[in-house]
Amino acid sequence: MPISFKDERIELAHGSGGLAGRRLIEGLIAPYFQNDLLSKLSDAAVFPVQAGRMAMTADSFVVKPLRFPGGSIGSLAVHGTVNDLAVSGARPLYILANLIIEAGLSVAILQEELAAMAQAASESGVLIVGGDTKVVEHGKADGLYISTAGVGVVEAPRALSAEAVSIGDKVILSGAIGDHGITVLLARGELDLSADIKSDSRSVWPLVKALLEACPQALRWMRDPTRGGVSASLNELAADCGYSIVLEEESLPVDRAVRGACEVLGLDVLHVANEGQFLAIVDAASAEIALAALKSTPGGSRACIVGEVVETKKSPRLLVRTPYGASRVVDMLVGDQLPRIC
């Protein structure tokens, strides 16, 4: 007889490993993720491996608020994990999801997040094959934290790394930046500001796959610019490859509302987080082919070439060139970007 879960709130007992815990897992959580690997509910998911290389990643999600326009912690957990695999050149396959639930969380909210995870997994073509559940005391977590691990199989024919990058390579951006960070900032409701924008949270695998098919040998390096934004990703690349990166300010795709919010708050969009974009370094000779492949893939219409890898003058840096000929260094952020008063 199937176990049913009827409680309205999560309590400490649900994390105890006893009957209440079993009801939570078998009666509430597992049914959202029906698949052969999960249904055994054993200590580990067992799956066959293919010849070749596999990629493995881990991530944690502590977003506040749990829900925001365009996504929620559940969909974010799946997309974030999938994207880490995708930008490693790997087709995402399986996800483990650990839930850390604050006692007192309404079951309805948990159900919404489980459904969001299930939907994001299904859309991204991955299976959630297991996980762990813990309940912590009320006041010890912001409702729900999700920690994940992901496994994928590498389809990129050559190693993607900073060492493969050389002078003259082009920087391709998959679409408009800043949407996620600004959306979450505004969704917190701490700033009396609203805008018609939503998070860009999505799987980037279809776009990466298009790139891998169009120019498998020309792809050098990829990264999803999440926390710290484009600036953090490209500063890390510059430090790792030893060359500087120059972005053309004019060519950076930024939506009007995001740009407006950044201007009002005194934020630099290059530091703002994204959850559905990636940066790719591509050999210059294949850059237009790569761009065309992205543009003809659903969700890739705003992809563009935004800059290039250049020789280093003093130390490897990220630079932005303005349309009137000046340039500025964009460093990594020290902490969070804080709004300015005047």
């Binding site: 700033l191 003058k313 009137y324 340039s327 500025r328 005047c342």
Partner: protein, 377 residues
């Protein structure tokens, strides 16, 4: 984007730079931009790279975070450490180092410190938390002072008994005079603070032009604003004139804002003197709440806490001797460039600032560090 793109037009920028070049022919000038917002813009948009090196920018004392002495920062943070107190502060204040850490660090260690974008947000926290005492850490020139004043009036209207303000509002003209009175400094003219002039009016700078024979051009904050202001300033300098001109007329009126002035006069009075980081004590350069609003004055409500703190601090100073000093004052007065400070980029960096100039994105040192020049071509 309207109101932004037209002031960043590449062709207009290039032609204005050309005009500046011809006005600078064979001459050299030192221009002070007083306001931290202008400092930020100059670096952010790389304007110095476009201009002749004979035109030198001196970054002035107009960043409200940078000029606040560390003792005041400590006092504000001391209030946050009191039982049942919620301290609300602007984002700019969160990373400023006190002797025992910054607001961000103290928040991470468990103090209830919240970042707000407006003093009204702080007031709302007080309404929502009637069991707590909410202190708003008020900083800024005349630009932000009216919002604080209105918030105090609102608190009075609501009859709140759990809301106070730690007032650190300063005025812009006295430090300009202090800088000009310094015999070491040679400044030819000023890019006048723009947003502060929406409150005090462009006419407020008249006394600078009159008493010191220095031209002042009130400027906006976009690249073309600043470049056009330089054109106006250079024309005056070349003609031997010293007037106040208003480049930012789309925002700044000539006369003071009557409503704001009334509110400021109603709520605040001048302090006899106020300590400025790097500049020392300047007479009548800051305000405090008038006596009739003392119930909203954190310095009155927490007088004992602050007095004890000052005694402790003094004892500590005698025991430890003077702490490491930073030459921020010399940078603030434009005597040295940020990167000429021995600590710049070494002991003093944005992630571990020793001086406040390295904290705020409007601080000359942070701006210099973050947007350090490196020409691509």
């Amino acid at each position: 984007m309207k109101f932004v793109d037209e002031f960043r037009d590449p062709e207009l920028i290039k032609s204005t730079v050309g005009e500046i070049e011809s006005l600078m022919q064979g001459r050299s000038y030192r221009v002070m931009e007083v306001c931290g917002g202008h400092t930020h813009s100059i670096y952010r948009f790389g304007l110095e790279q476009l201009l002749p090196s004979s035109l030198e920018f001196i970054h002035g004392p107009g960043c409200p975070v940078c000029i606040l002495p560390m003792d005041r920062v400590d006092e504000g943070l001391k209030l946050a450490a009191q039982k049942n107190v919620i301290l609300a502060a602007y984002g700019d204040m969160m990373r400023v180092p006190g002797h025992s850490g910054s607001a961000l660090e103290l928040k991470a260690s468990g103090l209830d410190i919240r970042m707000v974008y407006s003093p009204l947000d702080a007031l709302k926290i007080a309404v929502d938390n009637p069991q707590s005492q909410v202190v708003f850490f008020a900083i800024g020139f005349e630009t932000t002072a009216p919002a604080t004043a209105l918030t105090v009036l609102k608190a009075q209207e609501l009859g709140l008994s759990n809301f106070t303000v730690f007032v650190n509002h300063v005025t812009v003209i006295p430090p300009m005079r202090a800088v000009l009175d310094d015999p070491d400094l040679k400044i030819d003219g000023f890019i006048g603070p723009g947003h502060v002039a929406t409150v005090i009016g462009a006419c407020a700078y008249d006394e600078i032009a009159r008493d010191y024979k220095k031209p002042v051009v009130v400027s906006g904050f976009e690249p073309l604003d600043i470049l056009q202001s330089l054109v106006l300033l250079l024309r005056q300098l070349n003609n031997g004139e010293a007037r106040v001109e208003n480049q930012y007329a789309r925002v700044v009126p000539w006369a003071p804002n009557a409503t704001a002035s009334t509110v400021l006069a109603k709520v605040f009075e001048l302090r006899p003197t106020f300590e400025w980081r790097g500049l020392g004590a300047i007479l009548q350069s800051a305000v405090k709440l008038r006596a009739q609003f003392s119930q909203y004055d954190a310095e009155v409500r927490f007088a004992e806490v602050l007095a004890n703190h000052r005694i402790d601090l003094e004892k500590d100073r005698i025991e430890r001797g003077r702490g490491p000093s930073t030459p921020c004052g010399e940078v603030l007065k434009g005597l040295i460039k940020p990167n000429q400070c021995a600590l710049f980029g070494k002991e003093c960096r944005p992630e571990k600032p020793l001086g406040a100039l390295m904290v705020s994105s409007e601080g000359a040192c942070a701006a210099h560090f973050n947007y350090a020049h490196e020409r691509i071509d």
